[in-house]
Amino acid sequence: MRFPDMLGNSLASLRRRKVRTILTSIGVFVGIVTIVTMVSVGIGTEQQVTSTLSGLGFETITVNPSYSSDSSNPNNIPTHPLTPQLVTQIKQIPNVVSVVTDINLPDAIPEVDISINGQSAPVSAFFSNGSSINPLVSGGKISMVAGSDFDASHQDGVIIGAQSLYNSLHLISSYPADTSVYNQLLGAPVHLTVTDPRGEQQVFTTTIAGVDNNTNIDDARAPGARPNTVRNASVRIGANVKLAIVQWWYRQPDYLEKRGYSRATVKVDTIPHVNAVADQIKGYGLQADTVPVLIDQISRVFTILQIMLTSVGLLALLVASIGIANTMIMAIYERTREIGVLKALGATRRDILGMFMLEASFIGLLGGVLGVIGGWLLDLLLNWGLNAYLQSQGFYINLQIFQVNAVLIGGALIFAAFIGLLAGLYPARRAARLDPLAALRHE
């Protein structure tokens, strides 16, 4: 029996039993939809994370102080603070190009009031951190509009988001404005007012060091909003200014010696040196995270997630394969006499085996095709829903967390057909081994 004839034969048999074929393939459909969706989460997140991280540069090491795992540490003082002495030592490690330190404002400071030329607005302390643009947070999408960004030697002043100049601080009359408008604001005096829990206030005076295109959460919630509708300003405060704030807040002039910096970003000349430098920094008792390690950790989490969720799909496919086997056994029972006739006419065991295995594979493949289409549509729906939700929460970002690719589609189809083939193995074998005489007598 030629393969095309076998194929035609199997397809014709399935066409004659459309409803049963479709119902049986629904099990595979469910399994494949689940697996496609789950794997697409992995593909999507991995791609989003990787593209986000790639802006960071692989030659970067993020250094953090070490904290004791003991939660009885009320002031959250690090066991191994990132002190200026250690920073100096890190700078002297061979192959280190630069070290940019930063200080986080204490969580207890909810807001800092900023006042420029008589205009004032609150600044969320949480979002004011990151004295240098951190692509891990910004996704590499923040760039300077005027002035220069904070770096190893430049940690003074504040950098204000251009949009906030318009809709929070009302310092410019339109947005976006010409670069010259922003340049005129550089060096303008800035007063930052911090209030401590006892109600004491302290004013820190500095200047505008730069303007960037950063937007805070309130800006993002209202693109092009009119003045007065947005309260918080998007401001990044220089590490030196934040140092002054925390020294006052803790009444601790030797803050850096006692608690150290919150974070340092160490740049190494080439990637191959990253691990050696990181190891040396770890030798000081500090935490040193490299991007590959981060990627590795994140992808490990996603791998576990994917394995768990894919198991659900596999379970569905297991049930589906039992369904296919059942359908095939039924079909073979109904067609016993036909099998007997075919054998009398010269059909070999191989012919019968092939016919029924193909049929079972096609049921699987049909479920696979429907499942891939279903999974893809579900992905579109989930992406749309996720982004609609994010927008309703004020995040104007476009996340494509669910993504399919050719490997996933091809793999899913082959896998679905294979499930069918596997499920058809036993019934087809039974059919092939039927005694032709008994089959011919079958009513």
Binding site: R337, E338, L342, K343, A344, L345, G346, R349, L437
Partner: protein, 257 residues
């Protein structure tokens, strides 16, 4: 009389035995039969039900394997043949005609006739042409695209005969071919079978319990309880003035066999 030897035998049964287990009992459906059938002979196997005549036919067709003895068809002993040899035997050497026609109900007359050719890997165009030819010979050219249930019993059996001839077998095995037909259609089927035997030299073995059917045969083998009880040469097998198939289709002799 036990005239078991013939000249130029195509089939030779030697001490052929087939036993079945039926519950706790062993039934000897065919018991130590010796028989030869000549090439081109028309043999009727007669007997009551349970006499072993159908078992004998199935053994000849390679659908059943003997418990003992030899089944020589040409120079192949089916009793010891491997499965692929038996497949070949069913594909090319014998053609089956059944009492209940056994057409594939979901396929048209044409597709039914094509099936044996499809199973041996014949190309679609070639097998379609041959199937149409065979149906035309059976006078069914106009019925070739009908499903079996749209055909009369006589038509169905003629489709089945066309199907049995598809791969040019040397032997046609018919199990009660007229059993489900009225006398008129039964007679027509028998005339066709007789003509195939006479005009093409097809060896024909027909199982029947109908003396009217047996009357067409050259020899009648009577079976009882698995044994041959009588072999009688038909003194006057019906000879026709004009070949039947030729009168039916007008041009059978030109058709390749």
């Amino acid at each position: 009389m036990r005239e078991t030897n013939v000249d130029n035998p195509i089939i030779r049964l030697v001490n052929l035995t087939r036993r079945y287990k039926v519950g706790p009992n062993v039934v000897e459906a065919v018991a130590r039969i010796d028989l030869e059938i000549a090439t081109g002979e028309f043999v009727a196997l007669m007997g009551a039900s349970g006499s072993g005549k159908s078992t004998l036919l199935n053994l000849l067709g390679g659908l059943d394997t003997p418990t003992n003895g030899e089944v020589w068809v040409g120079d192949v002993n089916l009793a010891t043949a491997k499965r692929n040899v038996l497949d070949q035997h069913r594909q090319h050497t014998v053609g089956f005609v059944f009492q209940s026609f056994n057409l594939l109900p979901t396929r048209t007359a044409l597709e039914n006739v094509e099936m044996p050719m499809l199973l041996v890997g014949e190309r679609p165009a070639a097998r379609r042409t041959r199937a149409r030819e065979l149906l035309a010979q059976m006078g069914l050219a106009q019925r070739s695209d009908h499903l079996p249930n749209a055909l009369s019993g006589g038509e169905q059996q003629r489709v089945a005969i066309a199907r049995a001839l598809a791969n040019n077998p040397r032997i046609l095995l018919a199990d009660e071919p007229t059993g489900n037909l009225d006398s008129k259609n039964g007679a027509e089927v028998m005339r066709i079978l007789r003509a195939l035997n006479q005009e093409r030299g097809l060896t024909l073995i027909v199982v029947t319990h109908d003396p009217a059917v047996a009357a067409y045969a050259d020899r009648v083998v009577r079976l009882l309880d698995g044994n041959i009880v009588e072999i009688s040469a038909n003194p006057t097998p019906p000879t026709e003035a004009t070949p039947l198939l030729t009168s039916m289709t007008g041009k059978l002799q030109e058709v390749r066999v």
